[in-house]
């Protein structure tokens, strides 16, 4: 178990763009030791005993919320789930007010999912509690990217030098963005593949290659991360039709024949079978989709542990300064 981590000083985990390579590697390394914990017969450690974690979800999510809940419980933290209907938020209290109210309940960590990009950044600025971003709009979903990278490392040994393709709606995907930041920082070669209207402006400046040819994206790739196509969110001016998308971008056994034999097929879930990936591939030998789910717990335990430890340090330091000042005042 890693106990002291001078390399991790952030009270929050908001995204991978702002992290250094060392910080990302520390997260992954810490997750490795927690992976060992959850593989034991007794899957629980007392690391966060007495701490309270609130899952504050403004968007419906079962998978990520449950993963965080399991992770927090494995660390012996108390967990409270709050789901807020986002459409009613405008009439009610502001996000900052909600956050401050939760903090007033003496909560240590808020795990937040929000449909607005930047929401976690704003909350973190306004609260002393730790914030873990569980997905904000199209911006970042750091723990998803970390569990993707953890899975890659576990399966292939290293990340440096790997060829990873991300296929799907890059423009509206926080999973894609976080993966791009994390993978490029760790030295992987990333290719993004989507119909032109789903490639966001200037994405090549992150250092990724861009293609609209699925065969090109699969060729030589060590792994392909298949994004969920959210056709229900089709509010854009230009969006491909479902069947047309599968025909041109769907990951099928036929297409994989032209790829590396051991190419890893990843997916953040939930899968749309027959939309972005065929059933035989999703359930096939190349798929690591369920292992990703297991690894998600280890990675989220690492995130909860590291921010909690860092914030304890920050808060102690601040109260220390305060106490000192008070003493001076008494004199």
């Amino acid at each position: 178990m890693v106990n002291k981590n001078p390399a991790w000083t952030r009270k929050d985990l908001l995204g991978l763009q702002e992290l250094t390579r060392d910080e990302i590697e520390l997260l992954l390394k810490t997750a490795e030791s927690f992976k060992e914990v959850i593989s034991r017969e007794v899957k629980k450690v007392p690391t966060l005993r007495g701490k309270t974690v609130v899952n504050l979800f403004y968007e419906p999510s079962t998978r990520t919320r449950v993963s965080f809940e399991v992770a927090a419980k494995r660390l012996s933290a108390d967990v409270i789930n709050i789901a807020i209907e986002s459409s009613s938020v405008r009439k009610g209290e502001t996000l900052i007010d909600t956050g401050k109210n939760i903090e007033a309940l003496k909560v240590d960590i808020i795990v937040m999912r929000h449909n607005c990009s930047g929401a976690a950044v704003m909350l973190a600025k306004n609260l002393h509690a730790s914030i873990i971003n569980a997905g904000d709009g199209w911006h970042e979903h750091p723990t998803q990217a970390l569990l993707d990278m953890f899975t890659l490392k576990e399966k292939l040994g290293v990340i440096e030098g790997l060829k990873v393709s991300i296929v799907g709606d890059i423009a509206h995907s926080r999973v894609a963005r976080s993966n791009i930041w994390g993978l490029t920082k760790l030295g992987a070669h990333v290719t993004v593949c989507a119909p032109p209207m789903l490639i966001p402006t200037g994405i090549e400046k992150t250092g990724v290659s861009v293609t609209s040819s699925i065969d090109e994206a699969l060729k030589d790739a060590d792994a392909v991360n298949v994004l969920r196509m959210q056709f229900e969110r089709d509010t854009e001016n230009a969006f491909p039709k479902q069947l047309e998308y599968f025909k041109n971008f769907g990951i099928t056994a036929e297409r994989l024949k032209k790829a590396k034999k051991n190419i890893l097929v990843m997916h953040p879930g939930p899968i749309n079978r027959g939309v972005e990936v065929s059933s035989d591939v999703a359930d096939g030998p190349n798929s690591v989709i369920l292992e990703q789910v297991t690894n998600g717990i280890a990675v989220r335990m690492a995130a909860l542990f590291l921010v909690s430890q860092a914030n304890e340090h920050i808060l102690k330091k601040n109260t220390g300064v305060k106490a000192k000042n008070e003493k001076v005042l008494v004199k």
């Binding site: 607005c116 199209w138 402006t201």
Partner: protein
């Protein structure tokens, strides 16, 4: 009532003067500008080492009254104006009710008469209730004294309606100010479309949503022969279109807001909602084009687009926060810091952009210090620096894009109609 301003560096864009002179103010007017005036005056101001120039004429201000007095009022907004060296402003008509009838203008005029701290001029709307459909009665608006019509805050989407509006305005010799934005192209965006919006995961607004409408409105101005003023231009293509229109000799003028020549979209990496406005902060290249446009005269005027919003409307998620920033108290200092200090504009040219040109566009007798003109004068310390802080702002709203930034140039005196209305404490 007389004031003698001694030994200041007088910048008079009306007479193309930049020289150390004295100015005598009597009965609300400038009575004499010369070296070593010795006439006894009731008040004397030693302006040695200071800049003396015409008060700013800000042709784009949202005072929010009537209707949203929680954001700003005529009183608080005009107080912010004189603190920032603005002695005349044009109040935008997107209030509740909109300034779309003689009756509503009279209501606003009453408020102005009772509470304004500087000259407040009125713009009427182009369409009734700013709905983009039914044209206002320009004849009665003109009679009540509006200087221009505009649906600012929104663009008139219908080409037919805009064309008719320009024709009617032209008959009355009334200026039309156009907020250029094609909302179908803006695509519900909240910031500039580009690599920064991609990184932040925010929906982007393309340059095209602005310049395609600029192109349409210039074309309509040409067809109808009417005068058109393009509000708050923010991108390179718009500057190029205005330059081309001017070359053709069309009656086209344009303004830019300080945030559009001082800040670019890279500032938004912190999701600061005080940097959210419409049009949005653009790319570095666009900022360079706006600066170039100001230097070469393509852009006639600097106007703040002062748009106050309460903390409740700003301290929320970026997507949901209101568009707009305040600017009356910072526009002069931002202009000095970004344009004069960096050698892009001389003081004389700056005074043209801030005072003289907007006065000519609006057809008012301001923006000059020639003998006989209205005594709207500011005296500024050009080298003194100050830090923009919310506590220091007198506007009811504190949503400044420049909070925390250090600017150069402090207003020491604001004289409006021959009276010292503001003196730096």
């Amino acid at each position: 009532m007389s004031i003698l301003i001694k030994n200041g560096r007088v910048i008079d864009p009306g007479g193309n003067i930049d020289a150390v002179l004295d100015i005598l103010v009597e009965d609300g007017r400038i009575s004499k500008v010369a070296k070593d005036i010795t006439v006894p005056a009731k008040d004397m101001i030693d302006a040695s080492g200071k800049i003396v120039m015409p008060g700013l004429v800000d042709m784009h201000v949202h005072l929010r009254e009537p209707g949203r007095e929680d954001k700003e009022t005529v009183s608080s907004g005009s107080m912010a104006a004189i603190r920032g060296g603005v002695t005349s402003l044009l109040a935008m008509p997107n209030t509740t009710p909109a300034i779309d009838s003689a009756e509503n203008i009279r209501l606003l005029k009453k408020i102005i008469q009772k509470t304004a701290n500087c000259n407040v001029f009125i713009a009427g709307s182009i369409t009734s209730g700013r709905n983009g459909c039914r044209l206002v009665d320009v004849v009665s608006l003109k009679k009540e004294g509006v200087l221009a019509i505009t649906d600012d805050g929104s663009s008139v989407d219908s080409e037919e309606v805009m064309s008719e509006a320009l024709k009617n305005a032209n008959k009355e010799k009334l200026l039309v100010i156009s907020h250029c934005e094609d909302r179908s192209l803006a695509n519900g965006g909240v910031m500039n479309l580009g690599y920064i919006s991609t990184q932040l995961g925010l929906r982007g607004i393309s340059n095209g949503s602005e310049y395609k409408r600029v192109a349409r409105d210039i074309e309509l101005a040409q067809k109808t022969g009417a005068a058109i003023h393009i509000a708050h231009i923010s991108c390179r293509e718009s500057v190029e279109l205005v330059a081309a229109a001017k070359k053709k000799g069309l009656h086209v003028s344009a303004e830019a807001a300080p945030h559009h020549f001082a800040l670019c979209d890279e500032e938004l990496m912190s999701y600061d909602t005080n940097l959210k406005m419409n049009p949005p902060l653009r790319s570095k290249d666009d900022v360079a084009a706006i600066r170039q446009g100001l230097t070469d005269g393509t852009i006639d005027a600097i106007a703040s687009d002062h748009a106050p919003h309460t903390e409740n409307e700003k301290e929320i998620e970026f997507d949901r926060a209101e568009f707009g920033v305040i600017g009356l108290e910072t526009e002069l200092a931002v202009s000095i810091t970004e344009l004069v200090d960096k050698g892009l504009l001389s003081w004389l040219e700056l005074a043209k952009r801030l005072s003289f040109n907007p006065s000519r566009i609006l057809g008012i007798n301001k923006g000059t210090l020639s003998a006989g003109s209205d005594a709207d004068i500011i005296i500024i310390d050009p080298s003194k620096e100050w830090k923009v802080a919310a506590e220091g702002l007198v506007s009811k709203s504190k949503n400044s894009a420049f909070l925390g930034r250090t600017l150069k140039g402090v207003v020491e005196y604001t004289i409006c109609a021959g009276k010292v209305v503001y003196q730096q404490p």
